[in-house]
Symmetry: C2
């Protein structure tokens, strides 16, 4: 189930996580990062990711995910595939079922990208009165 390489999350070519808020992204960085956010831009996938990520045992059988949705198993599997292609989760087939787990490095990187530098208060706009 891991034959298909996940999309690279920003950070592989930028060792120290440049941050979305500290400098303009290059075209290449934006092209790498957008598909990851796009994968998160769907309520079913967000719920699936949160169900997988919050699992105390660290992984979840697809058979435990589908009952929470009024969707067919192929549809759920498609959403899971998109999360996997985005590098957010991985999976392994064991017998009848496929088991999924979070790749926490991916969410760590996204969190870092969206975190303001320590102690950084973004400056107020030069012309005030509208905040």
């Amino acid at each position: 189930m891991s034959k298909q390489e996940p999309l690279p999350v920003l950070g592989q070519t930028d060792a120290c996580c440049p941050g979305l808020l500290t400098a303009p992204l290059s075209t290449e960085q934006a092209d790498q990062l957008a598909p990851v956010f796009k994968a998160l831009g769907d309520p079913v996938r967000l719920r699936l990711l949160s169900m997988i990520a919050s699992r105390s045992g660290g992984e979840v059988c697809v058979c435990e995910l589908t009952p929470s949705f009024e969707l067919s198993q192929p549809t759920i599997s498609h959403h899971l595939k998109l999360l996997r292609q985005a590098g957010l989760i991985d999976c392994e087939r064991r017998g009848t079922w496929v088991y999924y787990w979070l790749l926490p490095e991916a969410t760590d990187r996204l969190a870092a990208l969206l975190t303001r530098p320590a102690g950084d208060q973004l400056p107020e706009p030069a012309v005030g009165g509208h905040r």
Copy 2:
């Protein structure tokens, strides 16, 4: 320019930021949050957001954004509108131009959602050998 209410970022109904990684999202939470990630799921919008967010003066004239893209100004304005509707930026018209600035509370909330609880090491999957 602020007549249209932005989409509510998760956190307005959940005062203490439940986190995407700590508990399964409700359908309502996922429905609120997905459009924000969807707004980030496009390379042009990511570049625009990073250009606005990293602006030392705190705000940027649209006239300074468009030259970085091989896109028409209406197209750029459309992308900016989607970022604004997602609650990530706001803007104000002054004379000929519209000025944009980051709403850092929104990116702070997203970062918090994607951050593992302090000291939390996600448990290894019960069945090993595949990480």
